[in-house]
Amino acid sequence: LQQIAAERTDNDMTYTLAQLLDVSLLASAQPRTKEELRAVLDSAPVSLRHYPAGRLLLLEGDPCDEVHLVAEGLLRVRHLTPEGREHVVSYLGPGRVLNLVPALDDGAALGTVDALTDATTYAIPCTLLREWIAQDAGLAAAIARHLAGELRRIDAMLADMALHTVRARLARFLLTHAESNPAHHRWTQATIAANIGTVRDVVGRLLREMRQEGIIRRERGRLVIVDREALEREANNE
């Protein structure tokens, strides 16, 4: 969750292509690769994609022939069931890459992807990315490091699901996402449930319990953490 929160901190940024080549995975590419990349993206207007908030980009299992460098906005990757249950796997803000795994293993989309805000991406053909990786050791190493980081993040998420109660996970979520200076992240019981691996009804019941216990309180448009220490004990399964 901390990882997710960290990933969401720069979401107000808007990157130009030149900036993306310096801040994204591609920053480790050799100059020649970057020049090739810049030439490809500059010469193909169709590579620049705009998605209004709410637009569906991909369904889980869809074939993938492009990776996307996120220049602006926020994408959400999640698993959905026909019954409407969902689990958010990641949020991808400016500088992040969508579809890296399918680009490497030639497989299908890992999750269903939608735009949470108006978003802009640069689309790169997977075949081209694979060619660049094959010829650029710096880029290959950067991608390996990135995937190692993703493996650690997902391992931590799995451990959290397996070892902590839903109440503890909710407490950790509230602690991680509560803001001392209210900003602009809007939550609902359903979106919290999708982030901690449960369903809305359970989040609702647990929030009511916490409210009865004086840990949180409801104000119009806000959920306020009143007793942080108690919440920290909950987060640690104490």
Binding site: N11, D12, G73, L74, G84, L116, T117, L174, H177, A178, E179, S180, N181, P182, A183, H184, H185, R186, W187, T188, Q189, A190, R200, D201, G204, L207, R208, R211, Q212, R217, R218, E219, R220, G221, R222, L223, V224, I225, V226, R228
Partner: protein, 87 residues
Amino acid sequence: MSATVHPSLSGIPLLDASRCTGCGLCAAACPCSAIRLDGGLPRFSCATACHGCEECPSLAHCLFPCEDACPERAIACEFLLVEGNDV
């Protein structure tokens, strides 16, 4: 992403009209009588009728009553997560 505060943060629930069946359970669940059905859809007057559950002594266990009462999951109450008593 825009940093402006969304109108729903005034406390007005969001309604997915495509899912709403007009059953009225949300109106029945609202402790402030802030919901009425109009043309088969709930209309919310939380901004004037609701004083905030925290201020209502009879609602000690109430958080999102209309959202929780909706069997079609057509209602969503958005909120900010805020820390502390002084914000």
